[in-house]
């Protein structure tokens, strides 16, 4: 039951790891939840969930796992965890000898082994089925097999909780894409070079000693600006639908940005076709990933550089009309063009990168958008120009 909570959370894509789970168990052992399910709920949330954006997922999983147990649960929730672990019925794949050994193990030790095994499996998330194969031969025979046997092994192939967790880090966008990225990376590096601004606040010790010697021992301090990039980048990316053919070039761009660690801050958000009241923190655009666009404008100051990636091709109503969102469940009275206007207005510098060439930019909606954002082609040359437009001029 308790592991259902853990795996349930992982299923929902909540990044909860062994370390957090152990923290939670320690807290339970310490009796911190007192005797109420509500406090147990809050304790679990404090230990397992590290961002309020996942609270909703936690609520859903918790409700599912602990449905109807409130009365049956009794006082000591932690006792139930340990009971569960001690109960051999929960490990059906074990031989009688192993069961005997299992009963000899104290709960702590068992938990330890279980966690160790699971931790290893997290590390090699790609080898789910291989793990089951070697599990039997591992020194942690029973401990190794029971979690894989009942929880991870079978279902893992179909539900791939690890994959979901990985997805959040855009694994799909960036693996094995290092082939043609060199040039784009170089183009993006200019985004770093041009903005080496800042005041001289760091003591240059070598120079200071040199200068002091040159000054016959009279101390002469030399300061230099700290080496850092001041560019904060907001990426707004169109995914799905008409953008599908450009998945490849766009994912290349993302890889390049990700590897470009020179950025001071970087925040990517996703939308479909046009920007409305909400944008999404992942390309899957689930409701739980929604962030109010207004919040982004409030939170990020005008110095942030905005890069919108999209083909700017959509039905005119999607851009201009109220309730224009192609997804009716997410429709809102504010037309997309108003949001685009607010974004262009709020930030000092913004660009629109279009994977389609300039020949297509005369279409209705693209023409409207070009009035709001300077538009560039998503190519090495286009990016070079876009970068110049983002950071050039003032330096």
């Amino acid at each position: 039951m308790f592991l259902d909570l853990f795996y349930g959370l992982r299923d929902e894509g909540v990044p909860v790891a062994i370390q957090e789970w152990m923290t939670f168990l320690h807290a339970l052992e310490g009796g911190l939840h007192g005797s109420s399910l509500l406090r147990f709920y809050h304790l679990g949330r404090a230990c397992l969930i590290k961002s309020e954006t996942y609270f909703d997922a936690y609520d859903r999983v918790f409700a599912r796992v602990f449905k109807g147990v409130e009365g049956a649960f009794g006082d000591d929730v932690a006792e139930k965890v340990l009971d569960w672990l001690r109960d051999p019925k929960n490990f059906p794949n074990l031989s009688p000898e192993e069961l005997e050994r299992l009963q000899q193990l104290s709960a702590d030790e068992l938990m330890q082994r279980f966690l160790e095994t699971l931790a290893k499996q997290t590390e090699r998330h790609d080898g789910g089925d291989r793990w089951i194969g070697t599990g039997g031969k591992s020194p942690f025979g029973h401990g190794g097999q029971h979690p894989t046997g009942i929880r991870v092994g079978g279902p893992a192939k179909s539900r791939s909780a690890m994959k979901v967790a990985e997805e959040r880090r855009f694994e799909n966008y960036r693996t094995d894409l290092t082939l043609d990225l060199r040039q784009m990376r170089v183009a993006l590096r200019r985004l770093r070079q041009l903005t080496r601004a800042g005041e001289a606040s760091e003591l240059d010790l070598d120079e200071t000693i040199d200068e002091t010697c040159r000054n016959a021992g009279e101390i002469e301090f030399v300061f230099r600006p700290p080496r850092r990039n001041d560019v904060r980048l907001l990426l707004l990316m169109d995914v799905g639908g008409t953008m599908d053919p450009y998945y490849e070039p766009v994912s290349q761009l993302l890889t390049a940005l990700h590897e470009e660690r020179g950025l001071r801050e970087f925040q990517p958000y996703y939308f479909h076709n046009c920007i409305y009241d909400h944008v999404y923190t992942t390309g899957r655009m689930l409701q739980k990933d929604a962030v109010p666009t207004g919040d982004i404008l409030r939170r990020l100051d005008t110095r942030w550089k905005v890069v919108v990636v999209g083909d700017a091709a959509m039905h005119p109503a999607e851009l201009l009309e109220p309730h224009g969102n192609i997804d009716p469940r997410r429709a809102s009275p504010t037309p997309g063009v108003v949001w685009l206007h607010r974004i262009a207005d709020h930030f000092d510098r913004s660009v629109w990168l279009n994977p389609e060439g300039p020949a297509y930019w005369e279409a209705d909606t693209a023409r409207v958008i070009r009035r709001l954002f300077p538009m560039f082609h998503l190519s090495v040359d286009g990016i070079t120009e876009a970068v110049r437009s983002l950071v050039g001029g003032r330096l």
Binding site: P15, A17, Q19, E20, T23, H26, A27, E29, G30, G31, L32, H33, R39, H42, L43, R45, A46, C47, I49, K50, S51, E52, F55, S201, L203, L205, T208, T212, G217, E218, I219, F221, P226, R228, R264, E265, D277, P292, G294, L297, R298, R299
Partner: protein, 293 residues
């Protein structure tokens, strides 16, 4: 982890209204000796909580306010090369002993102290992205080495570490895994009444209603760039009381709007709303169903 429940427990203080789950989270962090990460909108009392935890537990408090230029190492110690150079130039001080020029930071002092401290690391999201990662080992093991001297500083008493974040930046996963997390939600109306009661007791009930209606209405406006927060509401009420604003006046208008709205654009937006003949609500029903009990 022992089953000993004899650790210090925070129960809240008269000056701070803390919800049950928040108290639990604080106690969980104390018992497990993990940092407590507090998130929430600005003005929900994250920093103040640390002060009251220190007060409630009777521990001294050390604060480390993070700026965008803060480095993790500064919290441990700073080697004051400039002072040493200066001393060697003018022949003052004991230049030979490098220890005189090692100045402990807030974290370093909390470790070195004999007494258990509450350590507040305020607004950790202001710093560089790598900042929290640089502190991982120190917060885990509560020890660090002064490179210049080879001295190791080990925490005699593990401090109660409280970290606040305004959510301006994502914190690294490795760091989050080590924290107990609590998100201070924006207070709902009943809690807000209790909070106001702490600061402005004996406020006229009708006036308070109007104040809250206006305040929550403003917060509902998506157009605002900066939503007013609890601390601003309390300031606003002070201003209203000092000026002796009448109930009738408050029903129709929002006086002293400068106490609530801090952005020019927001004030403009409200003025536009006024000139267009917009009417600020006077009853809870006008704010929508979730405000009607």
């Amino acid at each position: 982890m022992s089953k000993d429940n004899g650790f210090l427990r925070f129960q809240g203080t008269p000056g701070y209204i803390a919800s049950g789950p928040l108290v639990d989270a604080v106690n969980c962090a104390i018992a497990l000796e993990r940092p407590l990460l507090l998130k929430g909108e600005p003005g929900t009392g994250k920093t103040v909580l640390a002060r009251h935890v220190a007060e409630g537990l009777g521990m001294p408090m050390l604060s480390w306010h993070i700026k965008s230029t803060s480095k993790a190492a500064e919290g441990l110690y700073v080697y004051d090369t400039v002072q040493r150079l200066n001393d060697s130039r003018f022949g003052t001080g004991d230049v030979a002993d490098i220890r005189h020029y090692i100045k402990l930071g807030a974290l370093g002092r909390a470790f070195a102290a004999q007494e258990r401290h509450v350590l507040l690391i305020d607004e950790i999201d202001k710093a560089d992205l790598e900042f929290p990662n640089d502190l991982l080992r120190e917060l885990d093991e509560m020890r660090f080495t002064v490179v210049e001297t080879g001295d190791e500083i080990v925490a005699a008493q593990r401090p109660v570490v409280m970290i606040t974040s305004n959510n301006e930046k994502e914190l690294p996963d490795a760091f989050l895994r080590r924290c107990i997390f609590y998100y201070i939600e924006f207070p709902d109306v009943p809690l807000m009444r209790r909070i106001i009661d702490v600061h402005h007791p004996h406020l006229d009930a009708k006036l308070l209603d109007q104040v809250l209606i206006k305040f929550y209405w403003l917060r509902e406006q998506t157009e605002l760039r900066k939503k007013p927060s609890t601390s601003e509401l309390i300031d606003w009420i002070s201003a209203l009381l000092r000026a002796g604003v009448s109930l009738e006046k408050l029903e129709a208008h929002i006086p002293f709007v400068g106490a609530l709205l801090k952005k020019e654009q927001d004030v403009d937006a409200l003025n536009r709303f006024d000139t267009k003949g917009g009417r600020v609500p006077q009853r809870w029903e006008e704010l929508g169903p979730k405000y009607v009990q």
